[in-house]
Symmetry: D2
Subunit: 303 residues, 4 copies
């Protein structure tokens, strides 16, 4: 039976590197979880076990650690660190034609009591995904695990009803979600030489502020509408972003029926349910946004 190798990529996932900057006073630190995926011509290792074109995943890990030192300034932000790594893998490894570096950055806040001490800010994870080669680079920033909730200003009614619809409409509900979002920087993609100078941290803070303000201030008729408003706010606040994509689980807070106990419950006591959950996903783009290419994924179901 004739079979053939299809799409493939490989690399080292989840290298947990922490870089401390000790030449500042007080010290600074970045805390990363770095995953690298390499694509190119790797037929031989699949078909015959000839590894002569394979950069080992151990070397990929070593490179992440070494670059945290060698590329100290680039390593201060996940976008520039990812770009430095992705460029290296493609430019310096003969067999690699495309590299995709995905970074989770765990924020820390300085403790008041002492300059060199920190507490982990568990309220959100900052992310960056850089794809280089095959027409790139594409630089995508993101956020994960940002849990937000509003106690009012959320309605849901007037929906399509079929035989299986039993939900009661509401003009006042608790709305909560855990935001996962990714946004693509086109100004930078058009001008890759400029990337190192971009103020990535400031850009991230601007997006975070716009996103949470839109969530908080929007009078919601559906989580989809709120998502769109959040996307619109981000695109308005940060002109260099062409598109933002969201994955928003609807963290249901159900009003508990207290009537068996002779108690009214005017939206005061809720059950925070685990599963199932609504899952709302969508993209908001500038009208003139270019094709995203491989920005959000390398295609064909691969990440």
């Amino acid at each position: 039976m004739p079979v053939q190798l299809g799409y493939n990529q490989y690399g080292k996932a989840e290298t947990r590197v922490v870089r401390v900057y000790r030449d500042t006073d007080p010290h600074e630190l970045v805390d990363y979880n770095v995953s690298c995926a390499l694509a190119g011509d790797f037929r031989d290792t699949h078909l015959t076990g000839d590894n002569s074109e394979v950069l080992t995943t151990d070397a990929v890990k070593n490179t992440v650690n070494a670059f945290a030192k060698e590329q100290g300034e680039a390593a201060r932000q996940p976008e520039s660190f990812g770009l430095a790594l992705a460029r290296h893998f493609v430019d310096d490894t003969p067999s690699v034609t495309r590299a995709r570096v995905s970074i989770e950055m765990y924020p820390w806040v300085r403790l008041a009591a002492h300059p060199h001490a920190f507490a982990r800010d568990g309220g959100h994870v900052r992310t960056a995904t850089v794809t280089y080669g095959d027409g790139g680079p594409w630089i995508v920033s993101g956020i994960d695990d940002l849990v937000v909730l509003k106690t009012t200003d959320s309605e849901f009614w007037g929906y399509y009803q079929d035989r299986y619809t039993t939900l009661q409409p509401t003009t006042d509900r608790v709305m909560a979600t855990k935001v996962r979002a990714q946004w693509w920087h086109t100004d930078l993609a058009a001008n890759p030489a400029a990337d190192m100078g971009a103020d990535w941290a400031k850009s991230y803070e601007t997006v975070l502020a716009a996103m949470t303000a839109a969530f908080a201030g929007h009078h919601s008729l559906s989580l989809q509408q709120t998502m769109h408003a959040m996307g619109e706010a981000v695109l308005e606040a940060q002109p260099g972003i062409a598109e933002i994509r969201f994955s928003l689980p609807n963290k249901h807070h159900f009003v508990v029926d207290l009537s068996p106990f002779g108690l009214a419950n005017p939206n005061e006591v809720f059950h925070a349910d685990d599963r199932p959950y609504g899952l709302i996903e969508g993209s908001v783009r500038r009208g003139d946004a270019p094709d995203p290419g491989l920005a959000f994924d390398p295609g064909q179901g691969w990440r």
Copy 2:
């Protein structure tokens, strides 16, 4: 600023439905985690909050539960259950043009002591993803969380060396991985009317046996080579499968250096490491496999 709504989908994720068949003796059961994603024309809810075209995710959950009763025979296998659900959402909901139903099935084994009692088989999760509409259906079966290990018959040497390469070559190592794989049934996609009669359980068992036999029996020069051999074995064993995709974390087992304690360690004591890990991903296809279309993903980075 002109912005536009991009790709979007929504639905209910992780409905945990268990169906007991009590008209058999002994009882049978299936245990599912069902996630449904619907796509279509949902501009209004995003832009104005007009939900008149929106089937509620609560109704999606209700449908999953109701179909477990109404479509009792289809519900016996995740592939046919997913197809019944996906068809319904597209065919019976005006605004829905595509549905994607992803199911995790948790296997149970009957306890010896009593006919109606079971223990969860935690050794693997069976999966199915059915996409209907936009040219489908596509039916994809899969496995997750299958952890396999071999204590020998695995080598790794002769790889490309760069400045950051420090790994020592080996002709005998422990190789372990946690298999996630998905395979696409083309015979069925070509003949969707026939699907209900397919013996999905038998097909799954055949794939599982072929996959583990290839892992066990293959003398490995790289995890990529083993992956390809596993894919080839599956395609040989089950002619109706056009393509199989793998995601294989290399669960590193490092030989512990016991020399400081005056002890030799000829591949006897290993540290099972957590992170980082190699991640090998690839596809094996028949030479004449058609384009997979939306089988493995709906495109543009969405799942």
Copy 3:
């Protein structure tokens, strides 16, 4: 063979109740995960299946939800909510002689943009465990998942060396831990009638500030020493606390050896390791602290 029923307890674990206070402007909310364990004379249900003395765990859940409404003021703090619940289960259920209510409280911070919107503060979980009956109440407050790190001011040397010791001493290392701590309030236990008026939130903030200040400001020769300093600081800051217990995993940050790449690494690049980890546990008590009784556990390995 004569067997007998030993220690037993039962209840409902992890009731996820969210209480919104809508009569304030802006709204306030508390977010709890409540676990209740009841002990008493429950021999019959174990031995014969006679449940006539068993309060159902479903009713326990209902009580948690109902009390979130009925005992609205008590529900504002986990300590007073736990005490109200524990008292009820013992005083109002004939068969229950002791109740232990353990609460996780998830902090939220108000978003700037709108008064009724919040983001989850993922940086720590506040806990309370209240035991009532059998001589109680005992009220224990706590914290979990507080991850702290200092980039310097930590040494480790001069330790005992045996045949298996290979660790190199250091006078400057990164020290990080994830704090789990519990502290017992004796002033309140001595005067249970006063508990509702205690400013539990203020007490918690005082402990959190003292604990993090001690971690940050302490020049550490061992994690044990730092733990003791943290405990001492807490007891000094909050006179009503008789004892505090810690469980501190040493989240190892290993200096990466970059010398194969010709790079020095003067404590700049670290690998944040997952497993194994040191685990330091200990208690700091006032010299005149009474016996903790059932404050920290009901004894015999039960929680």
Copy 4:
């Protein structure tokens, strides 16, 4: 303010060691997660940072790895491996007066296709906890993550009713739980010299078979009654066990109300709920069982 150090212990948690026996044909392997906690006189490191009595947790890890080689036969079973380690820490380290070694053992099953290849059996985790010193040893075996379910032969009715009781009685329900159990071997504790010869694997299989047979075959009026029957069956099957303790979450399977869709649901379609869950804990002991001492915990809330 006079404060004092209370109870304390420390050690290395979760050393993930895999031991391959290559002198057998086919190879055998054991897969352990080993946590060691040491107690003794460690005042100095807490109070002054003088570590001269402290065996480093790094050396503890090294010892686990070295013993997997040096004590190869003892390492074949978690009970004997734990005892060898605990004895060493107490007998060979001047400051250590008590050691507690807790081991998780992950079972593997041999793949049919090749003698040296295995698949992880995810259906249960075998455990052992050995405490040595202060009057020990105590040897406790256990199981975790064994998920069992029965589709019938389970009733629940006739319970106490209070104001918050709304549950409807049932004479036929699905009952499911995830078994965590620990049992104490007194014959061995009385004769520690004999322990190496005990057939721990056979003892474990006997307990597992007795426990699951009792779950399956018992007509249940409450989960408490089933738990007691399981304990009784274990004590009958294995005379050397003096006491067994269970922690059984009631994994609720709720009958879904399908009546809004015009469908009957005679115990066929269930929602497998996550939280909250009933939690049933209890001990079954021989009538002449001695005091368990530190077998199940070292007391005062420590594990």
